[in-house]
Symmetry: C4
Subunit: 232 residues, 4 copies
């Protein structure tokens, strides 16, 4: 992948945020990485999506140094950086404050898998990530946000492509993917599943998660060696 392609992909995914309905004002950012060169690309901070061009996208290395770009990168850059360093299987990260996923984050409610819509994207319950301590906030807020996310998936023994979403307590969701667009698709799926779960719970407060044989079937027909969804 050329650097030009990477900037275009990351620009496109960021520009898709307002139309996706996930983002108001400037509340969201998408990044993507080229694992061959180890260079990655992220939205500049506080810039309107509609005005964004590939030249505005900021390029960094895996030490966090800006390699190319005149604008200041997203204020969440250190969170993305830590995720790319610790999760070598991911190629994209999306952060939004989408309405229902953020409500789950604020409520400290993990998101159980109530149906196949969820199973198609997330292999089980989407976990809540703990709040940072005052010491972590004071030392390096955005870095420790990444640390807490990685810590939580490892505790649960979940890989970030099996469980490409987390809900940070008092804050909002982060999603991952094979590339920038795929991480954005997981944010779209997460928001939809969160809204569906809230309505499901309103209809039936004693609803139980999907049986494991249906979870497995739906997740594995889209992902893994025997997948048969989509074109070859």
């Amino acid at each position: 992948m050329t650097l030009s392609d990477l900037k275009q992909q990351v620009c496109d995914a960021n520009r898709a945020l307002p139309a996706s309905g996930l983002v108001r004002l400037t509340w969201g950012n998408v990044s993507g990485i080229d694992r061959v060169s180890g260079l990655w690309a992220i939205k500049p901070s506080g810039v309107d999506y509609d005005a964004l061009t590939p030249d505005d996208i900021v390029i960094l290395d895996l030490e966090g140094h800006v390699v190319e770009g005149k604008l200041r990168p997203s204020s969440d850059t250190k969170t993305h950086l830590h995720l790319y360093r610790e999760f070598p299987e991911i190629g994209g990260v999306t952060h939004t404050h989408s309405l229902h996923a953020t409500a789950f984050s604020q409520a400290g409610s993990e998101l159980p898998c109530y149906g196949t819509t969820h199973a198609d994207h997330f292999y089980g319950t989407v976990p809540v990530v703990r709040a940072l301590t005052p010491e972590e906030v004071a030392a390096d807020y955005e870095h420790y946000t990444g640390v807490a996310i990685v810590e939580r998936l490892r505790e649960l023994k979940l890989s970030p492509l099996e469980m490409p979403a987390v809900l940070q307590l008092h804050h909002a969701p982060f999603t991952f993917g094979k590339n920038a667009q795929d991480s954005l698709n997981n944010s779209i799926a997460l928001e939809m599943c969160a809204q569906m779960a809230l309505a499901t719970f309103a209809l039936n407060p004693s609803v139980t998660p999907i049986p494991s044989h249906i979870l497995d079937k739906h997740h594995l027909r889209k992902h893994g060696p025997g997948a048969y969804y989509g074109q070859k």
Copy 2:
């Protein structure tokens, strides 16, 4: 109907899914059948709606063999096939994961007829279809999804044009119609009725279904021999 017309109708109905608000990402598909030739048409799997052309539509026969088309048909093809084989009166099938109808499916809540909006499309309570067993999932998931739907409507002695919608437990709705567009209209009506029912129940938890004389009046002024809705 020519094969070309059928492909155009099925393409149009699939392309209408995102604008209908029923579908995010690639979560939905519409099919239609020409009963004279016994050939039917369905969306290819995992293709974006905006990019879809009539040439992408896959044509199959009632044995499930692909007769025309270069792309792999929808992963839900065997469900549609079984419905066309068992319900000779239907001409179209739509499957979506629309938000509120899917919440009813996930909650295992049947959808009572609370008003005339519902009565205009569905002649009584929209039923829940049971989950598949581990054996059925392992043997042929999509085929047995169709089997369970047919079984449920027969148990209830309902014809698929009187009750052109079902809610599959842990999964999502399927709707039927006289043709592809009509099945899509029933998906739109089902989503609206599900959202209305949730709000109705929030306002009045002891709400009762519509009286039968009003159900009959509204259903029959649109459907059946004495219908007087629309143009002649």
Copy 3:
């Protein structure tokens, strides 16, 4: 007003229904009347809004005879007719199945005035109209719908411009106005107030209606002899 102007106004108001978010499929209609000639205009039955032209609009007299137009008028025509005959002060009628107003209708819940948004349009609680009896449904469903609406406002001693909205039990809302567009604006206001009331009640189940001095102030600054809202 010329007949041509009336047809244009009624066509415009009907075409505005889908964009208003109040109507899916063909679930809504607007009519308007010229009180000088006693002729009135309504949407034809079951025609798509986007395809509607002024020439499609059906013209009737106050006896209910079609005076002009090749298409069959809305199936709700006799309801509109009765309202124009009994309420000489109204110039337009809108009927929709908008989501939240219909939920109130289905729940049999009248809509109290919880704030100034409501007070600006509706002078107090929006009433529920009773369901029709089996005899009324069998004899002339749409006519008796109008009869029940008129009966309810008279019981409550409310004029249809002070209270330009009703919620018919098991069915949906009807709104009135000075002309076609004004009746549509009242449908938009009613849907918004119904959705707000549902959220208000979720936040505070013991919420009380707006005090009468604020209701009077807001209603009368927009309506009546001392109104000072808008341009002269």
Copy 4:
């Protein structure tokens, strides 16, 4: 700032109201002030947003006299005037009846800070402003609306840029900002936070506000001397 620039800014912000999703019909207005000249600009009353041009914007001085403009200013003009007189640090005011913020106003429920989306804009709980008395309504409704808002923020010892939003009981929200566009952004943020809070509370009725160390971090990384969000 020239008067022409001020009119353009206020026109743009008002025209952005319908697309923002905050406003139906003509239920909202934005104003902005040039502190050097002491002149301020507001939407004319009851004019459609789409039809608005900079020449329609009404210019007033801080005594409330119309200095330029042929149209009658917004019926809420005296509220805006009082806010500009008493809060010299603000440069813009937005008033809407946005759905969820209005529901909080109607319910008399203050809006706690449940997460960082809220903390980025509002430094703590958004307060409810009391209803006006019958005497205040009779004497000068719109003026006393401003008086009650100022009184409430002073009671709470909050500056209007730290807490650029209030919820008036039985009525709707008002927001402030550095200029017209910034006050509109705060209305967008308020509506989103209100909707999120309602969903958060539905998920977890015993949810607690965000810890103060995270509130401080998020508010201060966007506002104040050490802010590092956005471009320099």
